[in-house]
């Protein structure tokens, strides 16, 4: 089997996006029109969610016989695909596992899988949100979850923008720098919390 370059992941993602775009093209237009109408109510986001829920795309997903379950199952599977390798990288940053290998190696092997999983999680998550935006908007767990995802993203961004830039200095050094350990621990904690918030959110729906 030939050795693929790392950006090979872009192709299946683009293909999936294209197929999804073709399948959902007419309902997608109604999505845009919902976004462009100027809301007049007290809560702009709430109004917009209500309008989104009335679109044909939302109704189609919500009332579909299998599609919703398919998307939800994909959301969970992709979550595992994303967090399994991410956990390995976090543990290397803390200095618990894979300590025989340089951080750059662990990162270059596991991060592409995590990123591919992340794209699927976001796509399926968006579809799930579109299917019942009002329920999501009114759920406090959903708001907590979004904040936690933002924090996790911020954690990753700060790590890659600061400590990871100087990786060549500590690639093989043990113990790893405090910043890397903090980023690893925060990553593990935040994603665990995201899973908790996501599951508890679903309990409030039914």
């Amino acid at each position: 089997m030939a050795r693929f370059p790392q950006w090979i992941w872009a192709f299946p993602i683009l293909a999936a996006g294209f197929i999804l775009g073709v399948v959902l093209a007419p309902p997608l237009r109604s999505l845009f029109s919902a976004a462009l109408d100027v809301p007049t109510g007290a809560s702009m986001i709430g109004e917009w969610c209500a309008r989104l829920e009335a679109t044909s795309l939302s109704t189609r997903i919500r009332e579909s016989e299998y599609f919703w379950w398919f998307v939800e199952g994909g959301h969970l599977l992709a979550l595992a695909m994303m967090l399994g390798p991410a956990m390995m990288l976090d543990l290397r940053l803390i200095g618990v596992m894979w300590t025989g290998d340089p951080v750059s190696k662990v990162e270059s092997r596991f991060l592409p899988v995590t990123v591919a999983g992340f794209f699927i999680v976001v796509t399926t998550g968006l579809l799930l949100f579109i299917s019942e935006p009002v329920n999501c908007y009114e759920s406090s767990y959903f708001r907590i979850k979004m904040c936690l995802i933002l924090l996790a993203g911020l954690n990753a961004f700060v790590f890659h923008a600061t400590i990871d830039r100087r990786r060549s200095e500590w690639d093989n050094v043990l113990p790893t720098p405090a910043g890397a350990r903090i980023a690893g621990i925060l990553g593990l904690l935040l994603w665990t919390a995201v899973i908790f918030a996501g599951r508890y959110m679903a309990y409030t729906f039914s």
């Binding site: 089997m1 050795r3 693929f4 379950w69 939800e72 199952g73 969970l76 599977l77 979550l79 595992a80 695909m81 994303m82 967090l83 399994g84 390798p85 956990m87 390995m88 596992m97 894979w98 290998d101 190696k105 270059s108 092997r109 596991f110 899988v113 665990t192 899973i195 908790f196 599951r199 508890y200 309990y203």
Partner: protein, 166 residues
């Protein structure tokens, strides 16, 4: 026969189910407001770790993840697979005890247990042989075995999710 309930398959287990229903742990999980939600979330969390780590080994077998030998990856990740497997089993049993009659009759619970049993047996026996046979390159049948394991755990997860849907 994709969907089947354990009730249809083993109708004689009725008394055992009633005994499960009467256990003090089951009663507690059923009645405490926090217990079931918390246990189910831990169940999902452990399952995510289980699938994520088995996926790492399988992606290595399929040739997508590179850099280490299959045995190295399997040895390092093995601890996670076994611990999360134990956690999934314990939380799963607790959830079962909370409402055994429901799961006994559920048509997604039957196939889930069937495929879970196959997956566990496969993971603990044949899979080790597969991993060991990769010392001199990865033959095609080993890739197939990796894909089979991946598909098996996917199916277990899908049926598990379906328990709440049917």
């Amino acid at each position: 026969m994709i969907w089947f309930s354990l009730f249809k398959l083993f109708p004689g287990m009725k008394s055992f189910i009633q005994w499960c229903d009467a256990t003090s742990i089951g009663t507690y999980v059923r009645q405490a407001a926090w217990a079931f939600k918390f246990i189910e979330t831990i169940h999902i969390l452990a399952w995510v770790v289980l699938l994520g780590t088995t996926m790492i080994v399988n992606l290595r077998l399929l040739g997508i993840l590179r850099g280490w030998s299959v045995e190295q990856i399997a040895n390092r990740v093995g601890m996670f697979i076994h611990v999360s497997l134990a956690m999934v089993a314990v939380t799963g049993i607790l959830m079962f005890l909370s409402n055994p009659e429901r799961y006994y009759a559920n048509i997604a619970f039957g196939p889930k247990i069937l495929y879970f049993s196959i997956a566990v047996v496969y993971q603990l026996t044949l899979y080790r042989y597969v991993v060991r046979s990769t010392r001199r390159g990865i033959p095609a049948w080993v890739r197939l075995a990796g894909g089979f394991s991946l598909a098996l755990w996917f199916v277990v997860g899908a049926f598990g999710r379906a328990i709440g849907a049917v």
